[in-house]
């Protein structure tokens, strides 16, 4: 399935916590134009965990409940700034916002803030996945090293040849080097390679 384009916002759901009525009505109207469902929220109330994005007014900060912060963290957060003072920005940064808007709001800027938030979130998620993969590989290096040493001993070959043999075996068995290394260390010998 194709991932939804960050430029097309129709059908997305937004949690909206805005104090000022005028700002809230501008957001609501612009969201209607963009085909976005608005879910009004006030800190203290129950959080709809299915929202795709959250707009949080800096007048509501700091969020006192860690549970609320955790739920908001699922989708990108757009911060609404009333002031640029570092003390306020510090509170805003705790939300790890993907984008921001400056109050008083205008219809202009809302679409761009949403697109940037979704795109930033998408890219951050990709990076997180990549980091997790690298982290896993880093942790399994110890196993790979142990497997290489074992093959060096059992086959009386140098380290590059041992690694090449493990890699070839992994490719032939359609497994990762880490998986085949785990098997070598567990069994004590190199799984039978063909060819």
């Amino acid at each position: 399935m194709n991932k939804p384009s960050s430029f097309s916002l129709r059908g997305r759901k937004a949690l909206v916590a805005i104090k000022d009525e005028r700002d809230a009505s501008i957001v609501k109207r612009q969201f209607e134009r963009l085909g976005i469902d608005t879910v009004p929220w006030e800190p203290g109330g129950a959080v709809d965990g299915n929202a795709d994005v959250a707009l949080i007014d800096d007048d509501f900060l700091p969020l006192t409940s860690p549970a609320q912060r955790a739920l908001l963290g699922r989708g990108p957060v757009i911060a609404l700034l009333g002031t640029e003072t570092p003390s306020r920005l510090k509170l805003v940064l705790e939300l790890d916002p993907a984008s921001f808007l400056v109050k008083p709001l205008r219809s202009a800027g809302i679409y761009a803030a949403l697109v940037m938030a979704f795109e930033r979130n998408e890219r951050t998620n990709e990076l997180k996945q990549q980091i997790s993969k690298l982290d896993q590989r880093l942790r399994s290096r110890r196993v790979v090293l142990a497997a290489v040493l074992q093959v060096m001993h059992s086959h009386a070959i140098a380290e590059p040849a041992a690694f090449a043999l493990i890699r070839r075996t992994a490719m032939e068995q359609r497994k990762t080097i880490e998986e085949i290394s785990a098997e070598i260390t567990a069994r004590g010998y190199l799984p039978r390679a063909t060819g």
Binding site: S8, L9, R10, R29, R33, G35, R106, S107, A108, Y111
Partner: protein
């Protein structure tokens, strides 16, 4: 008894790079103002206050500021380019005035202080590209002026074409006003693309069309050209080389409606038989009429009241019925496709069978489906634009 006068600001560049279009806007605005002032339908008359920013972007801000601060206008008609509209936007928003913007534009804007009378991207780019994909080719050579209109038009085109397993063979951009086009024409003749999409504006476009016509004729090539902006006064400027261009627009002089026939004859009586109204000019005329009718309905020039009164107020204009969609301040209008002929006119071969709701953010665009399903759902305009021969 003299009617009370309502001052109206008109901002059109009558000199500079797009002076020709600016003059068209002004001619149309003044024609509408005179008609309204001479009609018995309105309890007021308009006093036009014309400003010429000479195509200099920064001068639009000063012109608008002067009209609001010194003349005291609440309504301004004009601004041809998006760059000029963006200059005026902060002032009209800050002072809560209304800008009646007549030109087609690329969308992705929705200010409460602007009434967008021209076509939205779903009115012009979409029908043209859909038609070309269905009937001509899936592979396009794009040439355009290096500014926001071309960038966004090409972006939408690329999305539609890619979804149809087609391709953008090239995307060549020229700076605004640039008239050196031979290298692009040479490339087209060499590569022989199945279609050329021209989003050049002004003199660049005229030079390109002439050079393209000469080169392809000499090479014995018949490459269709597509455009979202070409209009009758430009066909006259370019000459016979402009024939054969497939063009998307909400207005053509050749529309066979009684309102348009009457409009064209009034136009020619005023500006001469050789003169033709343009799409953006006609849209300016519509903008002034929509303003007058909204003022009449509201009974006040108060912005919020006028905006409310304008929403949904149906006007049988030269281009057919139009009205403002109150949810986004853009115009509901009828998209059309035509091909330019050697008489400097357009032969219309398709039009939507009902006015189409504006979709400035293209929220209804689904690149994988046909135009029929893409049409915005709206009780006021339930019909999708099916292909319909109107000749």
């Amino acid at each position: 008894m003299t009617k009370p006068s309502v001052p109206v600001g008109i901002i059109c560049s009558q000199s500079g790079p797009y002076q020709a279009m600016g003059r068209e806007l002004l001619k149309s605005a003044l024609m509408a103002v005179d008609e309204i002032n001479n009609a018995n339908d309105f309890d007021f008359s308009f006093t036009p206050h014309v400003r010429d920013p000479r195509g200099v972007v920064s001068e639009y801000h000063a012109a608008c500021d002067d009209l609001i601060r010194n003349v005291g206008v609440e309504h301004i008609v004009g601004c041809y380019t998006s760059a000029s509209r963006k200059q005026v936007l902060p002032i009209v928003e800050r002072t809560d005035r209304l800008l009646w913007h007549p030109a087609r534009y690329e969308g992705f804007e929705c200010s409460d202080n602007v009434i967008y009378v021209g076509a939205s991207p779903n009115h012009n780019v979409l029908p043209l590209v859909r038609y070309a994909l269905d009937n001509i080719t899936r592979h396009f050579f794009c040439v355009g002026s290096n500014y926001v209109w071309t960038w966004e038009t090409n972006r939408v085109t690329r999305e539609l074409v890619t979804a149809a397993q087609g391709s953008i063979l090239a995307e060549r951009l020229l700076e605004l006003g640039e008239s050196t086009v031979d290298h692009i024409v040479d490339e087209i003749v060499r590569r022989r693309p199945p279609a050329v999409f021209n989003t050049l504006v002004g003199s660049s476009s005229y030079e390109f069309i002439r050079a393209f016509h000469a080169a392809t004729t000499a090479a014995g090539l018949n490459i269709p050209m597509l455009s979202c902006s070409l209009c009758e006064p430009e066909l006259k400027v370019v000459g016979p080389a402009s024939a054969g261009c497939i063009t998307s627009s909400a207005y053509f002089e050749s529309i066979r409606l009684p309102e348009n026939r009457a409009f064209v004859s009034r136009w020619k009586a005023r500006y001469g038989d050789a003169s033709s109204p343009s799409v953006d000019g006609q849209s300016t005329y519509v903008a002034v009429y929509l303003l007058a009718r909204a003022l009449q309905r509201a009974g006040t020039s108060n912005i919020a009241e006028v905006r409310r009164a304008a929403a949904g107020l149906r006007y049988h204009s030269p281009q057919g019925p139009v009205w403002i969609d109150g949810s986004n301040n853009h115009c509901v209008l009828t998209p059309r496709l035509a091909v330019s002929n050697t008489d400097g006119q357009f032969d219309i071969f398709w039009e939507a069978d009902a006015p189409v709701k504006p979709d400035p953010y293209l929220t209804q665009l689904d690149v994988a489906v046909s135009t029929v399903r893409e049409t915005a759902r709206d009780d006021a305009s339930p019909n999708a634009p099916h292909l319909r021969i109107v000749k």
